[in-house]
């Protein structure tokens, strides 16, 4: 029972299982031992493990979702932007096509309504040409008709060609001559045929086509030329921006640039432009690198001419790379991660706390503390486990109580058996003395002896109690000595000393009398009036020490060993309770460390010490004074 009441200090354990780690037997699985993560995991507390695993899983899920969302968003954005750019390019293409078709209609109109109906022998078409120029002055710079040798037949609004101007060999003229079925559009160039008054050099795109020229007597062929102002095409494209830094430009079928917002920079070599030939780059979207920067290009072919609209925009415009957007995404990620960590920590605590408390309670139970309170709460499984452990502890308690009871019963039985060993010889001898006193008329001595005997037996029996007060034990031995003194006719004297403060303390009964009996039978019997027995009972710290000292012949060590070992039989004349009996009872009652100690020197005497635990006996000094008499000496 003693161990049950001792409480082990609670040890706080958080993330490491501390003691339990030591308790855990090293696994035999060598592979597991080597596995760092396994070892790490095995060292984590339940709360940490749940929190870490949940958080890691959640962060992984958030990352996967975030990346997927980001990629999908990016793809959708790119798709939408491409659609938008495609639409814009188509609109520009439509505007350019309309413009070019308009020029072709002018050329056709001049061909079929003016030139075909005129007799150049007599008629002049200058007025018609000039009218067309005036009507379309925003777009049209000049109109001219050349014969196949490159001589000007008619030109408006400028009437004269520059000196030394050679028409033959000019690309627009050659194309018209070589392909008479088609209308040709030249690349932009500086108009250098006609004399103009303002001295300016105009950039033009020349439309040329072969026409039939009627003279009165014959028909021949010539080339109709329309100089379209470059600005007319430029204005269609110059203001069109694709995205924040994107632009649109116009290229020929072979990839030569017709219009580009930074054409002059490209021409001076300070900026480069990819060559989108129609063979390599059919209509569609492309990713290209220009001056080290990535661009997205959309290409759309203009009808009839084979010219192509190109829209270029930096690749970054398609990306969700704005720093603020990235920070916002990061903010969202941190927010969700933080919330998850908090919730996970809370949940793990909620789940693990009852288990941790239960583990601590079980640890207390393992140290023997069955009075520990088993916590309640948690999930059903934990609750069920708590109940089962609680029931187990109750059963354990019952079991232990029953064991203690059994032990107590067994001890009592043993004591009873030992006490029952009291030899009846002592009674016979004492009764003989009393009879002898009565026969000799020594009635007073007989009364004293009867009284002492009666007290002796009263205390011996003590209503069946095994434990009596120290005062009673001393009283018991005093009565015994009184009877023996009468019997041995003053061969010895004795003294008894009892410390008053222990008088009411408890002791196992009949522990002094067998020792005193030994002292008389083995020491005093042979003394001739000078024998002395000193008995004392004194406190010694938490213990009480009884001392029985005689000045008898003592005993050699070998006999002393036999006596302690119980090999010496108690005297048949005495009470029948031997030293061994006393030792067994004391140790049964008080445990190891208590009991007898005998010191003996041959011819010097023997001293026996009996050490018991100081229990009970919160006696007052008065009681002690009444019960104990201090030092009593009798001759």
């Amino acid at each position: 029972m003693q161990s049950n009441t001792e409480k082990t200090p609670k040890t706080k354990k958080r993330f490491c299982r501390g003691k339990s780690k030591e308790k855990r037997k090293p696994t035999k699985n060598a592979a597991n031992r080597k596995n760092y993560f396994y070892r790490l995991y095995s060292r984590l507390s339940l709360k940490t493990a749940i929190s870490v695993i949940f958080t890691a899983t959640a962060i992984f899920a958030i990352t996967v979702m975030g990346v997927s969302f980001y990629l999908r968003f990016q793809a959708a954005m790119r798709e939408n932007t491409q659609k938008e750019y495609s639409l814009m390019t188509a609109q520009i293409e439509s505007a350019v096509t309309d413009k070019l078709r308009g020029y072709m209609q002018i050329a056709d109109s001049l061909t079929y309504n003016v030139i075909k109906n005129s007799d150049f022998e007599t008629d002049s078409v200058w007025n018609e040409f000039n009218l067309i120029c005036q009507t379309n002055s925003a777009d049209l710079l000049s109109v001219a008709l050349f014969d196949m040798q490159g001589n000007a037949i008619e030109a408006a609004p400028a009437a004269h060609c520059k000196q030394n101007t050679v028409i033959l060999g000019q690309s627009w003229f050659e194309e018209a001559v070589n392909n008479p079925e088609n209308t040709h559009f030249s690349m932009p160039h500086i108009e250098n045929i006609f004399v103009n008054g303002d001295g300016r050099y105009e950039r033009v795109i020349t439309i040329s086509k072969t026409v039939d020229i009627n003279y009165a007597k014959h028909q021949t062929q010539g080339v109709l030329m329309l100089d379209i102002k470059y600005s007319a095409i430029e204005e269609l494209l110059s203001g069109v921006n694709i995205g924040e830094h994107g632009y649109t430009y116009l290229i020929s079928n072979s990839g030569e640039i017709i219009y580009h917002p930074q054409l002059q920079l490209i021409r001076s070599g300070e900026k480069s432009a990819p060559v989108y030939s129609s063979a390599e780059y059919p209509d569609g979207f492309y990713t290209v690198k220009i001056d080290g920067e990535k661009y997205i290009s959309v290409i759309k072919t203009v009808g009839y001419t084979g010219w192509r609209i190109v829209g270029e925009t930096p690749y970054n415009a398609f990306n969700f790379t704005n720093i603020k957007s990235a920070l916002f995404l990061l903010w969202l990620a941190v927010l969700f991660t933080g919330i998850l960590i908090t919730v996970n920590a809370y949940l793990s605590q909620k789940v693990s706390n009852p288990i941790t408390s239960l583990e601590q309670a079980v640890e207390q139970i393992a140290t023997g503390n069955l009075d520990v309170e088993i916590p309640s709460g948690g999930s059903f499984e934990v609750w069920h486990l708590q109940n089962e452990i609680r029931r187990m502890v109750q059963q354990l308690k019952k079991l232990m109580d029953s064991i203690v009871l059994q032990q107590q019963t067994m001890r009592k039985s043993e004591l009873d058996v030992l006490q029952s060993q009291i030899n009846p010889h002592f009674l016979y001898n004492t009764l003989d003395i009393i009879v002898w006193f009565i026969e000799n008329g020594q009635y007073d001595e007989a009364v004293t002896a009867v009284t002492a005997l009666a007290r002796f037996f009263r205390i011996s029996l003590s209503k069946g109690k095994n434990v009596i007060t120290v005062a009673d034990e001393i009283e018991h031995v005093r009565n015994y000595l009184l009877i023996q003194e009468m019997r041995y006719k003053n061969r010895f004297s004795y003294s008894i000393e009892l410390s008053p403060e222990i008088a009411e303390c408890e002791t196992v009964k009949l522990i002094l009398q067998p020792i005193v009996e030994n002292a008389i039978y083995h020491g005093m019997e042979f003394m001739d009036g000078d024998g002395k027995i000193d008995i004392s009972a004194k406190p010694d710290g938490e213990d009480i020490v009884f001392t029985v000292a005689d000045n008898g012949p003592g005993m050699p060590p070998e006999k002393l060993e036999k006596l302690i070992g119980g090999e010496v039989e108690p005297s048949r004349r005495g009470s029948g309770i031997g030293v061994k009996n006393v030792q067994q009872r004391l140790q049964l009652t008080y445990g190891e460390g208590y009991g007898l100690k005998i010191e003996s020197e041959p011819d010097e005497g023997t001293t026996v010490y009996l050490r018991i635990k100081k229990t009970g006996g919160e006696s007052t000094d008065k009681t002690a004074a009444n019960r104990g008499q201090g030092i009593e000496s009798m001759a």
């Binding site: 001076s268 920070l327 903010w331």
Partner: protein
């Protein structure tokens, strides 16, 4: 939950601060300014009294200004070539809010010595000629010597060495950009080599002076006139045309305008050499913007020099440089 948060005070505090900072960064303009259409205020200060010479350069400036969203202020001087006035103009422009100054120094040494006191940390781009000053980080430098050499090469291709030796060389300039005129003349004469006579130098102060000069030369000898700047080039070409383009006077010069192109086409001007001024203008603005933003450290650009003659005027290669698309 509250208990857990209380228990992990440090974590909670750091987390809240991080969230707040990220939120502020991502939703406000306190740190990262977004969609702000920044306008760069840039001043270009030239040593001339008018902008005739700078037409092609301005085309490049205009396109660059449109691309970089720059507000350009072109400053000419009341008295062409006056360095003190130019320095005052720099100070005035900076005071008026110019964030960068592009300066074609009339006297680079004077400007280098004095600009520190007026620029007040505003970045400076040297144009035309270098300014040896710590504050000048970017340079658009014209190779005037190459102009002289190319014009000399044209003379050599037109005339035999013997004829060149008999020619008298007169270098004419308006006086507004004496530095470049001197270099061009020096290199021109040096490259011709065999001509032993030192060139006469003449500063024109208007049409009348040009006419008088040309009339004074007629019939006496064969001359090579070297116009060392556009202003004098146009004046001489006009004077020659009015005099009936005498065959014994051959005009070469630097600079290219529509008028000069017409004179070349008519044969009055034999050859013109000039810089690729369009990219020079474009680069000047690009550098200035880079310096304002702090993204540019040291940068140098040297535009190429090309010649225009009657023969190559409409060639594809010459046309690219001579006839701007802008």
């Amino acid at each position: 939950m509250k208990a857990w948060l209380k228990k992990n005070k440090a974590f909670t505090a750091v987390f809240c601060v991080l969230l707040a900072v990220l939120f502020v960064l991502s939703t406000t303009d306190l740190v990262f300014k977004e969609n702000e259409s920044r306008i760069y205020h840039i001043s270009i200060i030239v040593p001339n009294s008018d902008l005739t010479e700078w037409e092609n350069y301005r085309s490049g400036v205009k396109d660059a200004a449109a691309y970089y969203n720059a507000d350009i202020s072109f400053v000419t001087l009341y008295k062409g070539g006056d360095s003190a006035e130019q320095l005052e103009a720099v100070a005035r422009e900076i005071q008026n809010g110019a964030e960068a100054v592009i300066i074609c120094a009339a006297d680079s040494e004077y400007i280098a010595e004095n600009i520190k006191s007026v620029r007040g940390g505003v970045p400076v781009v040297a144009l035309g000629r270098d300014i040896d000053c710590k504050g000048v980080k970017a340079r658009v430098i014209y190779d005037y010597a190459e102009i002289g050499r190319l014009l000399a090469a044209e003379v050599k291709s037109d005339l035999t060495a013997q004829r060149i030796a008999g020619q008298k060389i007169i270098s004419v300039q308006s006086g507004e950009n004496a530095y470049s005129a001197d270099i061009i003349t020096q290199e021109f004469v040096s490259a011709l080599g065999e001509n032993e006579s030192a060139p006469s130098r003449c500063t024109l102060q208007g049409e009348q002076a040009a006419n008088e000069l040309v009339k004074g030369l007629t019939g006496e000898s064969e001359y090579i006139l070297l116009a060392a700047d556009l202003k004098s080039f146009e004046l001489l070409a006009k004077a020659l045309q009015e005099c009936g383009a005498p065959a014994d006077i051959r005009l070469y010069g630097t600079g290219l305008s529509d008028k000069i192109k017409a004179y070349i086409e008519n044969g009055i001007v034999k050859a013109a050499a000039c810089m690729q001024e369009y990219p020079a203008g474009y680069k000047s603005i690009e550098f200035a913007v880079g310096l304002i933003d702090g993204t540019l450290k040291e940068q140098l650009y040297e535009p190429q020099v090309f010649t225009v003659t009657q023969d190559n005027m409409f060639d594809a290669e010459t046309e690219k440089n001579a006839f701007l698309i802008s």
